[in-house]
């Protein structure tokens, strides 16, 4: 009798856990063609972690829907930092996640495209994407388990992370404002120099024209 119960118990556990996996919410998705490159911009301060979860599905013309999983195609993820230097450039499978930490504050560009060999736009792709930045990227379940924190300690840890993110963002705001001020002052300088130079060029031009024409007419004996 024992041998009868155990397998059925394991079957139940297996089925329940499989249903758990089936019900993972995929989240936001959008459509792109096979050869299209889709980019997202994240303006973040330095030393900030960014986690992206994605899932890619191929359009199946036979059923008119999207295949639940399509092996064979890979997703190329490219991350560029504000100085246009490539931070991360890897080909992942159709489903996965990527992580990177910014070293310079500014606009980081995350580009996704499939590693297809076609030249012209092929079939449609459905891409599920979820990008979480900074404090939202931390998995608190994991942290609680690893460091054996009580609920209140976990909550305090979350509040600390949030406060740190706010501080970083404020610091980044100061840096941005400095850049803005620098740009405005540069524009002011350029306008000033341009107006002086333009007046100078006009005067020189006028003077040269008159002198040249006077000598020309004198040579032609018209004056």
């Amino acid at each position: 009798m024992k041998s009868n119960i155990l397998p059925s118990l394991y079957t139940t556990i297996f089925l329940v856990s499989m249903s758990c996996l089936l019900y993972i919410v995929d989240g936001l998705y959008f459509h792109i063609t096979e050869t299209e490159r889709k980019c997202f911009i994240e303006e973040i301060p330095d030393e900030t972690m960014v986690v992206g979860n994605y899932k890619c599905q191929f359009y199946d013309p036979k059923t008119g829907g999207f295949m639940p999983s399509s092996p064979g195609i890979g997703m190329h993820v490219e991350v560029r930092d504000p100085d246009d230097k490539v931070m991360l450039s890897k080909v992942y499978s159709t489903e996965g996640h990527f992580t990177f930490t910014s070293h310079i504050p500014g606009e980081h560009v995350i580009c996704l495209y499939s590693n297809t060999t076609k030249w012209f736009s092929g079939s449609q792709l459905r891409v599920h994407l979820d990008i979480q930045v900074g404090e939202h990227a931390v998995d608190y379940g994991n942290v609680a388990q690893k460091e054996k924190l009580t609920e209140l300690q976990l909550r305090v840890r979350q509040l600390l992370d949030q406060a740190e993110q706010i501080t970083k963002e404020q610091n980044y705001q100061r840096y941005r404002e400095e850049r803005f001020r620098g740009t405005s002052e540069s524009t002011n300088q350029r306008v000033l120099w341009w107006s002086i130079t333009q007046t100078f060029i006009l005067l020189v031009m006028g003077f040269w024209q008159m002198k040249h024409l006077k000598s020309f007419f004198e040579a032609k004996k018209l004056v």
Binding site: M1, N4, T12, L15, V16, S19, Y23, V25, D26, G27, L28, Y29, F30, H31, C39, F40, E42, E43, L129, D130, I131, V133, E135, H136, Y140, G141, A144, E151, L152, L154, R155, V156, Q158, L159, Q162, A163, I166, E169, Q170, Q173, R176, E177, R179, F180, T183, S184, S186, T187, R190, W194, T197, Q198, I201, M205, G206, W208, Q209, H212, F216, K220
Partner: protein
């Protein structure tokens, strides 16, 4: 005995599916993307019934800083339609379970690319694992920590909006700076060319007349 075990399994499975049906979809995604001219970009999300969701957008750079936005329910009903708006926020409770679509359109513009920030929030924030699960009343410490957490969330939200507004101003200033630079170089060259050209043409006029009068 075997049949009881089988029924047991079915019971557990049914309980689990009941639980998953009651479970609402949760999540929040913030994306900033570029919308080329004459383009339309749509985002879809599966939302369960009675979930409170919010869509917020703001145009950061481009043209007149406006974009068209529409929100469609699974039954193709237009829940919200905004024409040439700079920023807006819309909250709704899902009437049915299904795929809701948010579309941004720049089709009215002929040459300006738009940079659009979008925040799609579905349901409430995911609770901290282990914190929201016990059913007993929360201690003062716990409830004040939740209060602090919500206040910090509000601060982060305000910071995001401030960053977007500041980015708008900053990008405009950078654009202006570049325009002034190219314009001043272009105009200096134009003045030089026109000045020299005038003299050459004038000289040509007099030289031709001279040759005509001699023959």
């Amino acid at each position: 005995m075997g049949s009881i075990l089988y029924l047991n399994q079915i019971f557990y499975l049914c309980c689990f599916f009941q639980f998953t049906e009651v479970m609402h979809s949760v999540g929040a995604v913030e994306l900033t993307f570029e919308l080329p001219d004459n383009a339309k970009q749509c985002f879809h999300e599966e939302i369960t019934k009675d979930t409170l969701s919010t869509v917020e957008f703001q145009v950061v750079t481009g043209g007149q800083y406006d974009v068209d936005m529409s929100l469609e329910s699974p039954t193709r009903q237009i829940l919200y339609k905004g024409i040439k708006k700079q920023f807006d926020s819309f909250t709704w409770t899902a009437a049915q379970t299904g795929v809701y679509t948010v579309c941004f359109s720049n089709e009215f513009s002929t040459f300006s690319h738009k940079l659009v920030y979008m925040d799609f929030q579905v349901g409430d924030e995911k609770p901290l694992p282990g914190v929201g699960e016990h059913l007993s009343a929360m201690t003062k410490m716990e409830s004040s920590s939740i209060q602090v957490h919500e206040n910090l969330n509000t601060i982060i939200d305000y910071q995001t909006h401030h960053r977007l507004r500041e980015a708008q101003g900053r990008k405009f200033a950078e654009d202006l700076n570049a325009k002034v630079f190219y314009w001043s170089i272009g105009e200096a060259l134009a003045i030089l060319c026109i000045g020299i050209g005038q003299v050459i043409i004038l000289k040509n006029l007099f030289t031709d007349k001279k040759t005509v009068s001699f023959t």
